[in-house]
């Protein structure tokens, strides 16, 4: 595809529900990142994949957050038992091998009621 795509674009969940957010990176991009952006803040790193390997998950806020990229392309960020503080925009980005510029998707705005 032409760019990074994310789905759904908007998600409303009741507290305690599980959600799954999907990211389709640019074809051929080896590295994939997830960020969380609260209103009025800059993005905060959650986790990073190189192909299917999750090399850094130091930013995941709790064990309710889980990310996977089983075939080294599409990635899913799963949040279990959502809490109100999980409300944010979740951004996915990918990088072409050997470069530093990150290409971002439009984000998924998660609202937990």
């Amino acid at each position: 595809g032409a760019g990074v795509s994310q789905s759904p674009r908007y998600k409303v969940a009741k507290r305690g529900q599980d959600v799954a957010l999907r990211c389709d990176p640019i074809s051929g991009h080896v590295s994939l990142f997830w960020y969380q952006q609260a209103l009025g803040q800059g993005p905060e790193f959650l986790t990073y994949f190189q192909n299917e390997a999750q090399l850094d998950k130091s930013g995941l806020p709790s064990d309710r957050f889980f990310a996977e990229r089983p075939e080294g392309s599409v990635s899913t960020l799963k949040i279990q038992r959502t809490q109100q503080e999980d409300s944010a925009v979740y951004l996915c980005a990918s990088i072409r091998g050997g470069y530093n510029e990150q290409f971002f998707g439009p984000g998924t705005r998660l609202t937990v009621l």
Binding site: F33, Q41, G42, E44, A93, F104
Partner: protein, 111 residues
């Protein structure tokens, strides 16, 4: 946690004026990047400056980097209404993987 701090937090100027925003960071870096974010196009990469560079230009953008002061500035010349957006600096924290972001500068360019 956020590493960088941008100032000013908000800036309002008239079309045609120049806009300068600054960024400070805390750790050593390999490079520093500037991104723009607006509701229409999301986060878009603007320019990257490496730690061994002091100044870089791209169109109407000029970026400087002072590693001794751990700071960078972004200058947008001859601003346009379409430049209205939030601008973020991001550093690689020296590991070339995850980006560590500042809080951003909200720029409003008035026609």
């Amino acid at each position: 946690s956020q590493q960088g701090e941008e100032d000013p937090q908000a800036l309002s100027i008239q079309e045609g004026e120049n806009a300068t925003m600054n960024c400070s960071y805390k750790t050593s870096i390999n490079n520093l990047q500037w991104y723009r974010q607006n509701s229409g196009r999301g986060l878009v990469h603007l320019i990257l400056i490496r730690s061994n560079e002091r100044e870089k230009h791209s169109g109407r953008l000029r970026v400087t980097l002072d590693t001794s002061k751990k700071s960078s500035s972004l200058l947008i010349t001859a601003s346009r209404a379409a430049d209205t957006a939030s601008y973020f600096c991001a550093t690689d924290g020296g590991n070339n993987r995850k980006l560590i972001w500042g809080l951003g500068t909200s720029l409003a360019v008035n026609p």
